[in-house]
Symmetry: C2
Subunit: 136 residues, 2 copies
């Protein structure tokens, strides 16, 4: 993903701080929390403040560049908004997150909602347990 292009398209001014924050998040394969991201960013530029990290995350979220997740471990996590929706398997030991997409589940969700006359806007499905490594 070309950060400059995306920011320009959305009409967000791209400061050096925002560039570094965005680059660090989008180049990571993990679902980073704000503090974690701040730590990584801080190593590269110790002048950047935590507030700027939070602000940049909010702007990127408002503009549909990233998504906010809550895996119930006390802090929100952020990730690149991929083209395809996906859900998560979360390892309770090592914290590793595996992504998946199961269209049949998605369809069944819609049917359940219809039955209850409920209009679904969004959803989240998270399976907690142990990954292959950790369950040995």
């Amino acid at each position: 993903m070309n950060i400059e292009k995306v920011f320009v398209e959305k009409g967000i001014s791209l400061t050096s701080q925002r560039r570094l924050i965005a680059e660090t998040l989008l180049n990571s394969s993990k679902h980073l929390g704000a503090e974690e991201l701040f730590y990584l960013v801080h190593k590269k530029n110790p002048r950047i403040g935590l507030a700027t990290v939070y602000r940049t995350l909010q702007i990127m979220r408002e503009n549909g560049i990233i998504e906010k997740r809550d895996f119930g471990d006390g802090c929100s996590r952020y990730e690149d908004r991929k083209d395809m929706h996906h859900d998560h398997l979360i390892c309770m030991k090592c914290g590793n997150v595996i992504e998946f997409d199961e269209p049949t589940i998605e369809n069944l969700q819609m049917k359940v909602a219809e039955k209850k006359r409920f209009k679904v806007v969004t959803h989240r499905l998270e399976l907690f347990g142990y990954c292959n490594k950790c369950s040995k």
Copy 2:
């Protein structure tokens, strides 16, 4: 549910405070948050402190009497742990919560996890949107 019996079975001493807190929560059909529950309890016995509400909730959760939920509205919510697992439809306007259980979805979840060699311990599925009333 007989509160006295349940507490005795689990070996939890049942003080007057705990009885009131447990009764209030279990007699409610809603998914109450701690503050909300504290408010209800406080009306009946203003001497009970918020810390005791939190402590009692924790004890009941540790003993499998209730379950903690996080619907992403800033506070945890608690509900009677029913015999059957269930998931939730949550209205983003009125906050109403509808429960459902769809065994086919549950089965598919297991299959997805197997494919990823992941051992599922628990999961949560929440559909956010608008209930029948609010979507008009």
